[in-house]
């Protein structure tokens, strides 16, 4: 009498498993094969200029594994041999300089945990609930620990002239990505990073070196960073004029909308992570973040926003990083309308999607941080919905 997995001797209990170094670079269990980045093919014209999404619904804690960090390329993944890589600083500096990777590794290093969110994350939801899964609605965010050097050290080495106000980072890929960044931010907390979660940057994250612009939209975190120009005016590059500007209902468009606003999402249960255990104890798990700093509080509603309970923030609470929250409930098997609402340390409260639409219309594409609703049905399946 009993479960055969207990009463019968299993293969793994009798026979030897693989030896050490059977995987020189370890990979997840074969039973985790569904925990992968995914893309939505109809979104973009080609995979070289496209995006893939982090499987947030399968992850926990605050750190994203390197191989699951969402990707966004504008011209595919540049493959750069590190000894062939150079980082140049030019423009309004005393001495234009060229650094090798070896040079960069000789500056004082720092480690910081930061989230990176694409400004278009949740952008497909402006007109209404569209995609079933937080991987798709919220998966253009990840959070890792970066090792790198402060950008201010590199700029200081070249000697920034007194009339300088902006920098222009540029990538070495065939999109030669560029964005104008105010010098004040560059000298504050920007990093030039070569490691993520302790190992070299992955090629798709900018190997051998990328810019880190804490709390600001991901497009500015230039990958395969090869040049930093210092200037006295912004350059108005393609990615800060025709893209990454927020069109409002009145036809005006906001530009230089850099900060990622306070935001949260319940990662489980969610459409790709239904409740499979029936009624009784259940863990509601989610993520919150803000480009303004730390998360102060997250409230969770199970009735579509009528009543709210403050969730439990767990784990490290770090500046401009993902925060993990939990609400442990007894599920009575009835339908739920799950929502989460984050408040950051600057006091900003995550708005509803309808509040955002009232202020901006539906054509903004970027910076949709509205409250997400998941409709949990009696059978435990979950759908992306919006509520009154």
């Amino acid at each position: 009498q009993g479960e055969s997995v207990i009463t019968e001797i299993q293969d793994w209990n009798r026979y030897l498993g693989d030896g050490v170094v059977s995987q020189p670079y370890g990979v997840p269990s074969r039973y985790e094969a569904n925990v992968v980045r995914r893309d939505v093919e109809w979104l973009t014209a080609s995979r070289e200029s496209s995006v893939s999404f982090t499987p947030l619904h399968e992850l926990d804690g605050i750190i994203t594994p390197n191989g699951l960090c969402f990707e966004r390329h504008h011209a595919g993944i540049a493959e750069i041999e590190p000894s062939q890589h150079r980082l140049m600083i030019n423009g309004l500096v005393d001495t234009p300089l060229v650094f090798t990777m070896q040079d960069l590794m000789r500056f004082p290093r720092e480690n910081h945990v930061y989230f990176l969110e694409c400004a278009a994350n949740s952008g497909m939801e402006w007109r209404g609930a569209q995609l079933n899964g937080c991987q798709y609605t919220h998966g253009m965010v990840h959070c890792v620990v970066y090792t790198g050097v402060k950008l201010k050290h590199l700029l200081g080495e070249a000697g920034v002239k007194t009339n300088a106000k902006w920098i222009l980072p540029e990538g070495a890929d065939s999109a030669a990505m560029t964005r104008s960044i105010p010098l004040e931010k560059a000298l504050d907390d920007c990093l030039v990073a070569f490691k993520m979660n302790g190992e070299a940057l992955r090629p798709e994250q900018g190997y051998p070196v990328r810019l880190v612009v804490p709390g600001w939209e991901g497009n500015m975190w230039v990958k395969w960073l090869r040049r930093l120009e210092v200037g006295d005016q912004p350059w108005h590059q393609r990615e800060e004029t025709s893209k990454y500007t927020d069109l409002l209902a009145n036809g005006k468009a906001r530009r230089f909308t850099w900060v990622m606003d306070v935001k949260s999402v319940i990662t489980s249960p969610s459409p790709q992570a239904p409740i499979r255990h029936g009624r009784g104890r259940a863990v509601i798990s989610g993520l919150a973040w803000s480009g303004n700093g730390k998360i102060k509080r997250v409230d969770v509603s199970i009735d579509g926003g009528r009543n709210w309970t403050t969730a439990r923030l767990d784990g490290p609470s770090l500046d401009k990083a993902l925060h993990r929250f939990y609400l442990d409930i007894d599920w009575d098997g009835s339908e739920l309308l799950l929502q989460s609402r984050a408040i950051d340390e600057a006091g900003f409260v995550q708005p509803t999607k309808n509040e955002l639409r009232a202020a901006r219309g539906e054509n903004s594409i970027y910076h949709n941080n509205g409250i997400q609703t998941w409709y949990v049905k009696a059978d435990g399946t979950v759908e992306n919905v919006e509520v009154s």
Binding site: R38, F99, M124, E170, W235, L247, K252, R255, V385, S388
Partner: protein
């Protein structure tokens, strides 16, 4: 031999740049009719890389074997090829697409005789030692004395950005009429002959007065604030997959043609140059404003949110329109929005 039917699907990867079949023309890449048996780099009127021309002069002829090696890893097989395509990893896919292309060739694909010269993989260059001689002088600049001075030529090679005030524009000129020829050859396969866009590739022209519409069309003429961005972006990143291949004059000509397509100039003899560049204004320049998100009603007050009985009733108003988008489900759903 591969399956031409399956190869037709594989060919979709190629179709953005190469045409084949009746009326095929050179686009970003050369047309592919009669490819089997063709000497590499030999299509009239197509501007090949030096490497491809030399490979043809050296006797490289396209057949099943040589195409297989080239398609597996173009840049390994012919170092310096202009074809930016990363290659087809699966041998079966390569065989299938070659079989498909063979259906457009008078000479059927036959396995090459063993002595046929195939493109040899060029080994990656040995890493150059970055270790300075032990007695090399430590630089004096900065705090940490790291890095070395950039040369003027190095800065000129990389510093190609252009600002709205014209800073960074190179010498040069080009007419809209010249631009039309270039655009048709180098840009139209993705952006359409008149900038109308093919498939999901960006629309470049039209869309005037649509910014308040339900589906705004954001083009150079309807949305972009500055012409300098057009010049800068085309010069640094276009054509897609063949960046930096246009001369400065060609970029002027294409930029002039884009002005013409957007009715900013109406005469195709219009010549754009460094001298007259900043006199051209785009129509939507005044409609960009500073970031004022923090003044929006839901943010401005930083109000402590309601916790209990916040609304009388809750109704579901919208449900996900696209169901089961998980790619493994094998469904081809069409969404209504796009990410850019």
């Amino acid at each position: 031999a591969g399956d031409a039917g399956k190869g037709e699907r594989v060919y979709k990867k190629c179709a953005a740049c190469h045409q084949v079949g009746e009326g095929a023309k050179n686009r970003v890449g050369p047309e592919l009719n009669d490819l089997i048996g063709r000497t590499a780099g030999s299509v009239d009127g197509f501007k090949y890389s030096k490497a491809m021309t030399e490979a043809g002069a050296g006797g490289l002829v396209w057949d099943e074997t040589t195409l297989d090696a080239y398609l597996e890893s173009p840049r390994t097989a012919i170092k310096g090829t202009r074809m930016a395509f990363p290659g087809i990893k699966e041998a079966d896919d390569r065989a299938d697409v070659i079989a498909y292309l063979a259906t457009f060739s008078k000479q059927a694909a036959a396995p090459a005789p063993a002595e046929t010269k195939t493109a040899e993989a060029t080994p990656a260059p040995a890493p150059t030692a970055a270790v300075p001689a032990a007695d090399a002088a430590v630089p004096t600049h900065g705090v940490f004395h790291l890095g070395r001075a950039a040369t003027a030529d190095e800065i000129a090679a990389w510093d190609i950005d252009v600002r709205p005030d014209g800073v960074g524009l190179p010498e040069g000129r080009g007419t809209a009429a010249d631009g039309e020829v270039l655009f048709t050859e180098r840009c139209a396969s993705c952006h359409g002959d008149f900038g109308e866009g093919a498939g999901r590739w960006p629309v470049l022209a039209g869309g005037r007065d649509t910014l308040k519409a339900d589906r705004p069309e954001k083009t150079i003429g309807s949305y972009w604030p500055y012409l300098s961005t057009v010049y800068d972006y085309v010069r640094r990143a276009m054509p897609f997959g063949d960046a930096r291949s246009l001369s400065d004059d060609e970029v002027y000509a294409i930029t002039a043609y884009l002005l013409y397509l957007n009715d900013v100039v109406t005469d195709d003899s219009f010549e754009l140059s460094r001298e007259n560049f900043t006199s051209v204004k785009l129509p939507n320049e005044e409609n960009f404003i500073a970031d004022d998100r923090s003044a929006e009603p839901h943010y401005a007050g930083k109000v402590e949110p309601c916790m209990k009985d916040c609304k009388a009733e809750v109704k579901i108003t919208m449900r996900a329109r696209v169901l089961d988008v998980t790619p493994e489900a094998g469904k081809e759903n069409e969404g209504t929005t796009k990410v850019d």
